[in-house]
Symmetry: D2
């Protein structure tokens, strides 16, 4: 079934829900899911509405124009419209560790993640066989040991992403730091997995930090990448219990399961158009 | 802030959300929370709307009558209207075990559970001091060792509940089986806590059954009481990990924490008017 | 580092721990991990001891003979000895669903599961490319539509397992029922994943059963296969919260993550020699 | 059944387990539970042994002296010996919030927490009735609005604790900061509950910090109090999922359940002699 999704946010006031509902009723829109939220402190209204597109009486362009003029503008709304027929075009960046990449590939190839996986890029050759075996283009872009090796490789990454018309970049334990320019050019379109329960243990070696501190839980955090490392809007998090028996190697292994789970959930939420970002926070419907 | 809650269910069709939203907008209703669900298999629409009652332009009777004629009837809705000013009147039945009763009392006396706790009834005298110390009437109704002792005690329980105008009966590990008549007279108004993850381990001694089966998780289930023991609509459930080290006594102790948590969540959902029952299932918004 | 593992069980009495510890000390055994348990109801003692094999002063045969005569026999012990140098030889049986198989392959190929994966067998051709891409022999053994098609295919499965000298059979959502003979020939050496929190929802379509019952949690159970379907000794279980919003398809998807996690944990426990079976229960150290 | 507990730590080397086991066997000690751990990085061995005291052939003084000379000294062990007959003498400090105090009282009065609860001290009068109703002395020690009011009150607290011969101080959301001297005088004998998943959100208002950061989980941490606020050895932690719908008030309420659970677990671990502290870490058997 083809569906359309409206993602809305605007200053909170009376009548928003009625206006949206009336617009859809008028044009034969059958609402399948609707979810809303008001941040009462900031006074912002958020809504996600998914409706049956097959029976809708307007074409895309008409719909978007009319909705904008009769609903969005009167309420000063930010609006995003997405159609299930247009899957999000995704590129995955990975380094040597295979668990997050492998998990996303398994889910995608099982038909579980509704995304258009365009390309996997890595600074290592390791995953070529796995990717091409599943029919996903694999680009090995090594970082040369020369003064501007890193800069040149990032430029190549950008070109490959552009060539494949990628909308969403997923950092599946990609161990290279992206430049501020790269990040600024993909606002809320890069999902990173950090291997700790942020804001605890920012920076390098969070499992070692966790071990040194003697915590009884470890965690993982999926967030949109921003300039401020590990400070971007959090999409999802999870923790699991550990004990004094878990040395750094065991924490790392337990953490891998968290990382794959949390990253997959975050990617799913994004490609199903369930996330609204405001400030450094997210609403995940 | 005074609020009103609409709990609605009806056959699913287009325009329900718009009709409800329009009605509220027309009378100055500011929606604070709205949540909806469609059971697409059964074709039933469910909605909970909570709105600011202080600024609303209609009186209670007017509101209920107009909503009924202009919205509920055209859509063949079941409607329940509740006002935050009218807290649910609750009676708790307990036996000897104190954990569920004590937990509910602590939450209520801390102002955490918005309910009007009218009376605690027990077939044991144990909790008198605790209850009266917190200002809650305590009625000790023992079961006499005579042929119809149980029947007579239940009759006394009914009278005490009636005297205190109780709407919701909470069975806080009450170890007496209630008669079918008692249950039939309180449809979806008796919450029981069963000490297993239903439908596993129905009947007596679930922790022993769990131990004999060698499960690695134990659970607890809060449900509305129905004639069919342990078969009523489930409101909430939870599980916790156990190991071979946990004998029946330790399972029982770990289970007590589950029981208190799950029962408190279920009671909260009920007194906040978040539960809709249909068939043997619940929608908990 | 090469290690050896002792898995012991015997009637409980004083002096067992001392006897085992003294034997190891005498021969230069450095204990790395030791864990013990007493089932006080049954009066059975269980122990797992892992020690550094490199520095040990006896050869395998000597060690096993001397331990048997000086410790095991006096205490009427059941003893299993395993060496980390001999990884467990594993065969995986799968049908069409890829998630459990894919997850095990990803973990194994990442070096996370210390097992000697010999072969993947399936009644479908689907996973050939994935397996052979990772260097794992894949045998497609379809079930022919003839009277004894199932029996003949099972016979072929047995032969392939024998050819590859498989010790542990993992049923990764293998949708064929194995014959009692097959199961009897592999006692506690077949791990199955059942897609419910046993003993709830035995039999077919547990996610549909769970949906019909309106539960608020779903689960998965890994167990050793026995003749009595879904009744074998439980190795591991897990649950996850669901709501009225989760239809059967969403329950199924959420369940897949449980299934992969629980099956992987159970396989890991087995290949690390952490499981002792007694009656229909397990001790998992 | 009367039991004794040995809590041991020493530099790791061969033969420790055998030496302890042999000592107990020699004197008729029947081991009920034994648990051990080696921190392989630091090279430290930890063990907890609980054995049947009724059948033991030595008196307390004899046992302690002989164990010290024949086992502890040769292995340079730190040894603590505790007897189940001597319950830990506990004093609880609380402020206005009742949930942690109420929960500990309910568990203790139900016979669930094996401790000798001597006194509850508060800078508020609120909990007097609850405590005295349960037979626990309640001391209201207000902080006077005078220059050294805080210092004088802390001195009074010390005196009350001394009068009741308190060994373990439990800070049940006690909102006063204790002086470095007070803390130094009770090393690893003050358990505090911090309302965040440490080390995230140290300091004041962690729920507000969590809300501002947009986290998807909140947590609670029980730890021994040290001079360095929120930096003491962690005993236990737990987290729970939250969403964008949870404002600070709802985070606070959800957090209260975490706080009570985690604090109760930590107190139980302490009074059952399951905790060994080393550096800023704990081993919790």
């Amino acid at each position: 079934m083809a569906t359309a999704v409206l993602l809305l946010s605007c200053p909170d006031r009376r009548g928003i829900v009625a206006a949206v509902a009336n617009f859809l009723v008028r044009h034969g829109g059958n609402v399948l899911h609707a979810d809303q939220h008001v941040d009462t402190v900031e006074g912002i209204f958020f809504q996600r509405v998914e409706f049956d597109w097959d029976g809708f009486s307007l074409e895309r362009a008409e719909f978007e124009a009319q909705f904008r003029s009769t609903v969005a503008e009167p309420f000063s709304m930010n609006v995003a419209v997405r159609y299930s027929e247009d899957q999000v075009r995704v590129g995955i960046l990975a380094s040597r560790q295979p668990h997050c990449l492998g998990d996303l590939l398994m889910r995608w190839s099982a038909g579980e993640l509704p995304m258009d996986l365009r390309v996997v890029i890595s600074n290592h050759p390791d995953h070529a066989e796995l990717c091409t075996g599943l029919g996903v283009p694999y680009r090995h872009l090594p970082i040369e040991a020369e003064p501007d090796g890193k800069t040149r490789q990032e430029q190549q990454v950008r070109e490959v992403l552009a060539d494949h018309d990628v909308e969403l970049v997923v950092l599946a334990r990609y161990m290279q730091i992206l430049s501020p320019t790269f990040i600024a050019d993909h606002p809320n379109r890069i999902i990173n997995i950090h291997h700790s329960f942020l804001p605890a243990f920012v920076g390098a070696n969070p499992y070692r930090q966790a071990h040194d501190r003697g915590v009884k839980l470890i965690g993982a955090t999926a967030h949109y990448a921003t300039d401020d490392l590990d400070e971007g809007p959090i999409i999802d998090q999870e923790t699991t219990r550990v004990t004094h028996r878990d040395d750094v190697a065991r924490l790392t292994r337990a953490g891998r399961d968290l990382e794959t789970t949390v990253l997959a959930r975050a990617v799913r939420a994004h490609v199903e158009h369930r996330i609204l970002v405001y400030g450094r926070k997210t609403v995940v419907f």
